[in-house]
C-alpha cells in the first residue's frame, strides 16, 4: 500500500547514546522562543517541547539502571492522520499534514480548551498558563522565525517546521522543489552532542532514519494504543524497550496489536 504522505518526517533516538545531558531541551527552547519563569521546578507547569524523561529499571541498589528518554512531540499519525490530539481539537487549531506528516499547532487559532492535552498520552502538549515574560533584555534573543505564543493557548514541538520553511525558500530560489536531508534538521538533532538523534523522511530509503527505524532494537512509545507515532527509539536494553509500552505481566515485550 502506498503511503499517503508526500514526506513523512520522523526521528530516531538512540537511547544507548543519549546521556541525559539536556542539550536537546535547551536547543529546542532557544530555537523556538520557549518562555521561562523564575521557578521552573513545577514540571507540570513548565513548557518543555522536548523533555528528557529519566526512569529506572525499578531494581534496588546496586542493580539499579537508569534510562534517559528525550520526548519531543511524537507527531502521531494515528489512523489516516487522525492523531489523538488532532481529532479532538474543536477549532481545527491543530492539524495533520500529509505533505510532511507533521502535526501542526496554530497558536492564534487555538482558544485554549486543552482537550488536546488531555488526549495526548505523551504529555507533549503544554499550556501557556501565564503571559510569556522575558527578563529585561532577554527578549532580544527571540527568533523571528518562530512566533512567540500568547497566554491561554496550547503549544508543542513542531519538528522545527520553520526550518523546513526556510530550507524550502532556499531550494525554491535555487529552482529546486526538493529539500535535501541535511537542509532540514531539527534544532535538537543538530544540538545533541552525543549524536543520539537522527531526523529525516521515514519513507525515503535514502534517508538515515529509514534504515535506523528498522533496527531490531527499535520501538515506539505506546504503540499498542494505536497512536502510530513518528518518533522511534533504539535501545539494546530489553527493560527499556519494555518500558516503551504497557504490558501485562505474562506478555512478551514487543507484542503488537493488530492494526
Amino acid at each position: 500500500m502506498k503511503d499517503f504522505h508526500e514526506k513523512k518526517y520522523g526521528m530516531v533516538i538512540d537511547l544507548d547514546k543519549c546521556t541525559g545531558c539536556g542539550s536537546c531541551m535547551v536547543a529546542c527552547m532557544s530555537e523556538n522562543n520557549v518562555p521561562f519563569k523564575e521557578d521552573e521546578t513545577k514540571k507540570r507547569l513548565s513548557i518543555t517541547w522536548m523533555k528528557v524523561y529519566k526512569f529506572t529499571n525499578g531494581k534496588s541498589f546496586p542493580e539499579t539502571e537508569v534510562c534517559y528518554l528525550p520526548r519531543p512531540c511524537m507527531h502521531c499519525e494515528g489512523h489516516g492522520g487522525h492523531s489523538p490530539c488532532v481529532s479532538v481539537c474543536p477549532a481545527t487549531a491543530t492539524d495533520y499534514s500529509t505533505e510532511t506528516g507533521i502535526v501542526s499547532q496554530i497558536y492564534t487559532r487555538c482558544f485554549g480548551c486543552r482537550y488536546c492535552m488531555g488526549a495526548c498520552p505523551y504529555h507533549a502538549r503544554y499550556f501557556n498558563w501565564w503571559d510569556p515574560v522575558w527578563p529585561k533584555g532577554m527578549e532580544k534573543q527571540l527568533s523571528p522565525n518562530v512566533s512567540p505564543r500568547m497566554r491561554g493557548i496550547v503549544e508543542k514541538c513542531s519538528f522545527c517546521y520553520h526550518r523546513l520553511q526556510l530550507a524550502k525558500e532556499k531550494a525554491y530560489s535555487e529552482g529546486r522543489r526538493e529539500v535535501r536531508e541535511n537542509e532540514y534538521q531539527t534544532s535538537c538533532t543538530q544540538g545533541c552532542p552525543a549524536g543520539a538523534i537522527t531526523f529525516g523522511d521515514l519513507i525515503n530509503p535514502k534517508h538515515e532514519v529509514y534504515k535506523l527505524k528498522k533496527d531490531q532494537n527499535a520501538f515506539r512509545l505506546l504503540e499498542r494504543l494505536g497512536t502510530n507515532p513518528k518518533v522511534y527509539y533504539i535501545s539494546s536494553r530489553e527493560w527499556v524497550r519494555r518500558a516503551g509500552d504497557n504490558y501485562l505481566a505474562h506478555e512478551k515485550t514487543g507484542k503488537k496489536q493488530n492494526h
Binding site: 474543536p90 482558544f111 491561554g152 494504543l225
Partner: protein
C-alpha cells in the same frame, strides 16, 4: 410589597425575608463573580490545573450539571412525546432546573477556555471530528430551546400576563411546546452523548477509551442513558429541597412516584449496560492495551477500588433497586436516600470520566497526577449554585412553577376567593396545556 407579582392562590414569605435569602445567595454569587473576573483578567494561572490536568473541576462541573439537568429533556420527552401527562405538574420546575444547569454549563465553559475572546472559533472554525464541537453546538442549541421553554413561564407572571401580546405569545408557545420538547430531546441525545464521547474517544487514554458504533464510543450512549436516568432524580431532589425550604408540598405524590419509577427503571437498565461496559473494558479492552485493570485503582493516593464500588453499587444499583420497588418509592426516607445517592452516583461517574482519566499515567515511566482545585476554581464552581438558588427563589416566588401548589396548600378562604375569581377570568381563554390549577 411585591404582592402584585405573586401568583394567585399561593402564599409567599415576607419580602424582607425573601431579600435576606437573595442577599445571602447574592454574596456567594459575588464571590464567584469576583473569582471569575480574576480568571478572565489574569488568566488560567489562577487555577491549580497543570499540563497533566488540563481538564479538571470545571469540566467535571460541566458534565455533572448537564447530567443532572438531563431531567429537563427527559421529563419533556416523557410528557410531550410519550404522553405522560401527569408530569405537567413538575415539568415547569424541570425546565427551570434545566435552564439553570445549561446556562451554568455555558458560563463555566466560557471561564474554562484560555482565550474567551476567541471562543466563537468553535463555531466558525468547527472541526467536525471533535466531540467538543458537537457538544458546543448541541449545548448552545438546546440552551436556546430551554430558553424558549422557560420564556412562557416567565411571561405567565401575573403582571406580565396582563399584557395581551405576552399573553398571546405564551399561549402560542404552549401550543408548539411539543415541537420544542422533541427538538430538545433530540439535541440532548446528542450533546449528552457527545459529552460522554469527550472521554470515550481518547484512544491515547486507555482508562477512558471505549469502542463503539460509527464515530460514537459506548460512553456516548451511556452518558445519554445515565442523564435520562439520573436527571429526573435531581428534579425530584430539587423538588424535595424546595418543599423542605418552603415547608409545603408542591407536587403530588403520584407525579413524583411516576417520575421516580421511570427513573428507577432507566437506572436499572443503565446499570446493566454500564456494568457490561465496565466488564468488557476491564477484561478485554484495557488488557489489550497492556493494562491490568487493577493498575487503574492502585499505586496512587486517591483512586482506589472504592470509587468503582461507590459508583456502580452504592450510588448505582442500590438507588435503582429502591426506585423500582413500590415500597422503596413509598417510603419517604428510602426515596430521598435513593435520589441523593443517584445524584451522587451520576456526578461521581462524571468525575471518574474526567478527573481520574487525567490522573492515570499512560507511559509506563510516568507518574500519577494529583490535583486540588484553587479557591478561584471552587468559587466559580459554586457560582452556579448561588445563581441557581437565586433564580429558583425568584421563579418560585413570582411564577406559577408548581400547578398543584395552590391546591395542595389552600390559603385563607377570603383571600383565595378574591384570587380565584381573578385567576378564573384571566385564564378563561387560556386553554390546553395551561398549568394553572383550575378546580
Amino acid at each position: 410589597m411585591d404582592s402584585a407579582l405573586i401568583p394567585v392562590g399561593v402564599k409567599r414569605c415576607s419580602f424582607p425575608k425573601f431579600m435576606l435569602l437573595l442577599g445571602a445567595a447574592g454574596a456567594v454569587l459575588a464571590w464567584g463573580v469576583f473569582a471569575m473576573l480574576l480568571i478572565w483578567i489574569k488568566g488560567l494561572n489562577q487555577t491549580n490545573m497543570n499540563d497533566y490536568y488540563g481538564f479538571a473541576i470545571w469540566i467535571w462541573a460541566d458534565l455533572a450539571v448537564i447530567a443532572i439537568g438531563g431531567g429537563a429533556f427527559f421529563s419533556g420527552f416523557l410528557k410531550y412525546i410519550v404522553g405522560k401527562d401527569e408530569l405537567k405538574n413538575i415539568i415547569n420546575y424541570a425546565v427551570l432546573l434545566g435552564f439553570i444547569c445549561y446556562s451554568s454549563a455555558l458560563l463555566i465553559l466560557a471561564i474554562d477556555i484560555g482565550q474567551p475572546l476567541r471562543g466563537w472559533f468553535i463555531f466558525w472554525h468547527a472541526n467536525v471530528h471533535s466531540m467538543l464541537t458537537e457538544v458546543a453546538f448541541c449545548l448552545t442549541c438546546y440552551f436556546i430551546v430551554l430558553t424558549i421553554e422557560y420564556l412562557p413561564l416567565v411571561l405567565e407572571n401575573r403582571k406580565l400576563d396582563k399584557i395581551p401580546f405576552f399573553h398571546n405569545l405564551t399561549h402560542n408557545m404552549h401550543e408548539t411546546m411539543a415541537v420544542f420538547a422533541a427538538t430538545g430531546a433530540f439535541l440532548s441525545f446528542f450533546h449528552q452523548g457527545s459529552l460522554g464521547g469527550v472521554a470515550g474517544v481518547l484512544f491515547g487514554r486507555p482508562f477512558a477509551f471505549r469502542e463503539g458504533v460509527l464515530i460514537w464510543p459506548w460512553t456516548f450512549f451511556l452518558f445519554t442513558w445515565s442523564a435520562a436516568a439520573f436527571g429526573p432524580c435531581f428534579t425530584i431532589l430539587a423538588t424535595k429541597i424546595l418543599e423542605k425550604v418552603t415547608g409545603k408540598t408542591l407536587v403530588k405524590f403520584n407525579v413524583i412516584d411516576l417520575l421516580a419509577r421511570i427513573s428507577g427503571w432507566m437506572m436499572l437498565t443503565y446499570m446493566i449496560a454500564k456494568i457490561a461496559d465496565t466488564a468488557y473494558w476491564a477484561f478485554v479492552l484495557a488488557p489489550s492495551k497492556g493494562f491490568d485493570v487493577g493498575f487503574f485503582y492502585t499505586n496512587n493516593e486517591f483512586y482506589g477500588w472504592w470509587i468503582l464500588i461507590l459508583e456502580l453499587v452504592i450510588c448505582g444499583i442500590v438507588p435503582a433497586l429502591i426506585l423500582v420497588t413500590k415500597k422503596g418509592r413509598a417510603s419517604k426516607t428510602a426515596l430521598t436516600t435513593a435520589v441523593v445517592l443517584a445524584v451522587i452516583g451520576v456526578c461521581l461517574n462524571r468525575w471518574v470520566m474526567v478527573l481520574q482519566v487525567m490522573a492515570v499515567p499512560v507511559m509506563s515511566f510516568d507518574t500519577w497526577a494529583t490535583y486540588c482545585p484553587s479557591w478561584q476554581e471552587v468559587a466559580t464552581t459554586i457560582l452556579p449554585v448561588a445563581y441557581a438558588v437565586i433564580l429558583i427563589a425568584i421563579s418560585y416566588r413570582y411564577l406559577p412553577i408548581f400547578p398543584q401548589e395552590a391546591e395542595l396548600n389552600p390559603i385563607a378562604p377570603e383571600e383565595a376567593l378574591a384570587d380565584e375569581q381573578e385567576s378564573t377570568e384571566e385564564t378563561a381563554d387560556v386553554a390546553g396545556a395551561e398549568p394553572a390549577a383550575q378546580t
